[in-house]
């Protein structure tokens, strides 16, 4: 095995929650065993934004700057676009400049474990950032949707000194149909033959664990992929792993089925709770599994967020089941080439410092806002926190039509002007309040976060928004 080790872990989960009783009241039944609540992304959250948030936390936990990352891996079964190298945008939002490798792992919930394994395998030219994020969904009345959660976890894999990969084993067995998504669909489906589904999960998971040299009973926690709150325990039992070990780091009861991020999130929880020998099993339908034994400890950034309990209509709105497309219109649109030019400002709030008088300018173009000299600006990345100067809440009649789909999902928009301070200079930037964030007030310190802004010409656009600073 490699000497490389995980030196920092970051987690991101949405604030939104829906509990099993609410779904049961709506449908007369709740089909997902062992799940109390599921995490529901806000109207402007998706796998990419959750991945950025987790990535920022992992970099911070590992004390690594985004610019130092040498390779970037992204794993998800729910990429916002089916075709496009999203690691490039992910890297732009995280400040990753020149990654030697940028693999994407998708098409299976096993992708999360596969990406982490690849992170250990990369040549040791520098820190590797592995980002795993997922937000699966199904038809509203399906067991898959009842279980569907959301979350992201990111790992910084460095030369040594953290959580090491002790060993790895894999297993496969053909089992078509237990969980699949057709090429043009966004809902995951299953043929729902209970005994077949169980066998399709338990057999490869057990076989992968059996392939390890280590005795699985010697671990402190078992981070087993969890599409619901039943299957990981069945597989553990078959592999002679105590259910308590699964319980120690399970996230499924609170967050739901987090897809490719399921086992990686449980790894994060196990490390955060001080378990230093961990069995982890990633699983993908089809069916295949990776079993890993990890040992050691490292810092984990797990945000302390106040959940936002949703009623069922709000949940449906948020999922987009009750919203339409952006209205037709024209005028004032920002073309994709123009948008591309401004990506450093959208993704990282890169301002400019006037080379004549030192004033900050955002965006960094044109004449200096203070001395009015038409000189050059030195790039300055604004801090992640600023102070609210003004705020308003804009109803649907007062927002540009580009934001109609977001308002259909999330209601009125908060809009602010936020002042960012760099040394003795300050610059003000108009920014939207992230959907599902607590309201903000003038004078309050807020933190920036990458969110989906709007989609135009079919191209999703991401930008910094603000929310109250998290503890």
């Amino acid at each position: 095995m490699t000497d490389r080790a995980i030196t920092g872990i970051g987690v991101a989960v949405p604030r939104g929650r829906i509990d099993a009783d609410t779904i049961e009241n709506a449908w007369g039944r709740f089909e997902a065993t062992g799940i109390d609540t599921t995490a529901v992304p806000a109207g402007d959250e998706d796998a990419l934004t959750l991945g950025v948030e987790a990535g920022e936390r992992a970099l911070s936990a590992a004390s690594v700057d985004g610019g130092a990352v040498s390779s970037l891996a992204f794993a998800t079964t729910t990429p916002p676009l089916a075709e496009e190298d999203l690691t490039v945008r992910l890297g732009s939002m995280l400040g990753v400049e020149e990654a030697a490798r940028r693999p994407t792992f998708t098409g299976s919930t096993r992708a999360g474990a596969a990406a982490l394994l690849a992170g250990f395998d990369f040549a040791p030219e520098g820190p590797v950032l592995v980002v795993v994020a997922d937000c699966p969904r199904g038809e509203p009345d399906s067991a898959i949707e009842h279980a569907a959660g959301a979350g992201a976890v990111a790992f910084v894999v460095g030369p040594a000194g953290g959580v090491r990969l002790v060993e790895h084993a894999a297993a496969e067995e053909p089992y078509p149909g237990t969980r699949f998504r057709q090429a043009v669909e966004h809902d995951v489906r299953a043929i729902d033959v209970r005994s077949y589904d169980r066998a399709a999960f338990v057999e490869p998971v057990t076989a992968a664990i059996d392939g390890l040299e280590a005795d699985p009973s010697g671990v402190d926690a078992a981070a087993i992929h969890a599409p619901d709150g039943d299957l990981p325990y069945r597989a553990a039992k078959a592999a002679n792993v105590e259910p308590d070990l699964v319980d120690r780091c399970a996230t499924v009861a609170d967050l739901g089925d987090t897809g490719a991020a399921s086992a990686p999130l449980s790894i994060a929880r196990a490390v955060a709770d001080g378990h230093d020998r961990i069995l982890a099993v990633g699983y993908g339908s089809g069916a295949s599994a990776d079993a890993l034994v990890l040992a050691g400890s490292c810092p984990v950034g797990w945000p302390d967020i106040e959940p936002n309990e949703l009623d069922y209509p709000s949940y449906l709105r948020r999922r987009g089941d009750l919203s339409g497309s952006p209205p037709a219109g024209g005028g004032a649109s920002v073309s994709v080439p123009s948008w591309k030019r401004s990506l450093p400002q959208r993704h990282r709030l890169v301002a400019g410092q006037c080379d004549s008088c030192g004033a900050l300018a955002f965006p960094p173009e044109g004449a200096c806002p203070r001395c009015h000299e038409l000189g050059d600006f030195a790039a300055v990345t604004l801090p992640r926190t600023g102070t609210v100067e003004t705020v308003t809440t804009v109803g649907q009649g007062g927002a540009p039509p580009e934001f109609a789909p977001l308002q259909q999902r999330s209601g009125a928009l908060g809009v602010t002007i936020v002042a960012f301070r760099v040394d003795d200079e300050s610059v003000s930037v108009p920014l939207q309040v992230a959907a599902d964030a607590e309201p903000v007030e003038p004078g309050q310190t807020v933190a920036t976060v990458c969110r989906h802004l709007y989609t135009q010409e079919g191209v999703p656009r991401y930008a910094r928004k603000v929310r109250p600073e998290l503890v």
């Binding site: 927002a399 003000s428 802004l453």
Partner: protein, 390 residues
């Protein structure tokens, strides 16, 4: 430099006329202006035309100036279109004054028009957004309502301005507009109507926001020689001022004033040799209720912290010490973007010629018009003075 004079001005009805073309609306305004001047004046004396329009809906973005002047028979007259968002009309008047003062022309038509209601409300918001900082401010989620709401929020926190103060602006302007046959929303409203209306962008309600309107307006700006051919009490363009600023609110030096308005007013007062205390009335840019309160301070009527009480005390009502927006303002008369600034001049002409009807200010001799583009990226102020008055 010679003086410029206002020989006549008029406007079409402002309102929702989705079946009308912008050319026919302009014809209404042109004919209204011709009817405001003595019959002996012939339209073929017009040397030059300047018209303001934004081009909402994308209709005829190119050459819409000649399209309207040729439509009303000003064949061959050089015409320039001015685009400065909501201040397009005011800047068209300013260009006309420059042409006369410079000696290049003796008779200039200044006009403005906009056609906004024949497209969906979504499409209108797309188009209204073209006048702000489209790349950052708009993409933070605001149209102008959101930007002015932030200015309102800042004004309230800094100066103690209240929702009631904002509502008084709406009530006053609707009371005036109810006397204006050309007004889009020519009805009265109560304080409760304004306070209890649905929120557009907190704290601005529907009654704190001007309507989306169609309409056109024209003014004839002429040399002194031409003016005195037709009247012994000509209206002189006593002062002109204009200024620009950063287009986005976040880039400006303050959120509780419109610096371009202040600079434009200072220039116009200096040019006229007059000051705010000399005014008998003012037409100010009240696209949102807060905009009128900002204008009170920017134009020197009072200190910023006194603006709310100025309107609440009735000082700017029709029978107050300085009537503001006797026409009903943008709030009640309407806001067909390019026509607005010229429409203000039409109201000034009516007041200074004693033809204001039920909304006439007694002995009006000196008046001011104030037109703002966007949330303050451009502003233009004119001071008019009737000569030969006792």
């Amino acid at each position: 430099m010679r003086d410029a004079y206002l020989l006549g001005a008029g406007q079409s009805d402002f309102g929702a006329f989705p079946e009308r073309s912008y050319r026919t609306l302009f014809r209404d305004a042109f004919e209204a202006t011709l009817s405001a001047v003595p019959d002996e004046f012939e339209a073929d004396r017009i040397d030059e035309a300047v018209v303001g329009t934004l081009g909402v809906g994308g209709r005829q973005i190119g050459l819409s100036g000649p399209a309207v002047t040729e439509h009303v028979g000003l064949h061959g007259v050089p015409c320039t279109r001015v685009e400065n968002a909501c201040a397009a009309g005011g800047y068209a008047v300013r260009q006309a004054v420059q042409a006369v003062r410079s000696g290049m022309a003796d008779v200039v038509l200044a006009g403005g028009f906009e056609s906004m209601t024949d497209v969906s409300s979504d499409a209108v918001r797309y188009w209204l957004g073209v006048s702000g900082d489209t790349e950052y401010e708009r993409l933070a989620g605001t149209t102008f309502a959101g930007v002015y709401a932030q200015m309102t929020d800042a004004h309230m926190r800094t100066y103690g301005t209240t929702p009631e103060h904002l509502a008084h602006v709406s009530v006053k302007n609707h009371a005036n507009g109810a006397h204006n046959p050309h007004a889009h929303l020519g009805f009265e409203c109560s304080l409760d109507d304004a306070l209890d209306a649905p929120t557009v962008a907190d704290p601005l309600t529907v009654y704190h926001c001007c309507p989306v309107s169609d309409g056109a307006a024209c003014a004839f700006v002429v040399s002194e020689t031409v003016a005195r051919e037709f009247t012994d009490t000509p209206i002189r363009v006593a002062g002109v001022g204009a200024s620009s600023d950063r287009v986005g609110l976040a880039q400006r030096e303050t959120y509780t004033a419109v610096p371009a308005s202040r600079r434009a007013a200072e220039t116009a007062y200096d040019d006229a040799g007059l000051r705010a205390a000399d005014l008998d009335f003012a037409e100010v840019h009240d696209c949102f209720a807060i905009a009128e309160l900002l204008a009170y301070a920017d134009l020197g009527f009072c200190a910023p912290e006194e603006a709310g009480e100025l309107v609440a005390d009735g000082e700017t009502a029709l029978d107050g010490s300085l009537p503001v927006n006797t026409s009903g303002g943008l709030k009640s008369k309407g806001h067909p973007i390019g026509a607005t600034g010229v429409g203000q001049v039409a109201e000034a002409f009516a007041q200074l010629t004693g033809t204001g009807g039920e909304r006439q200010v007694d002995d009006a001799t000196v008046g001011l018009t104030h037109n703002v583009g966007g949330s303050g990226g451009a502003a233009v102020v004119h001071v008019f003075e009737r000569e030969g008055a006792a």
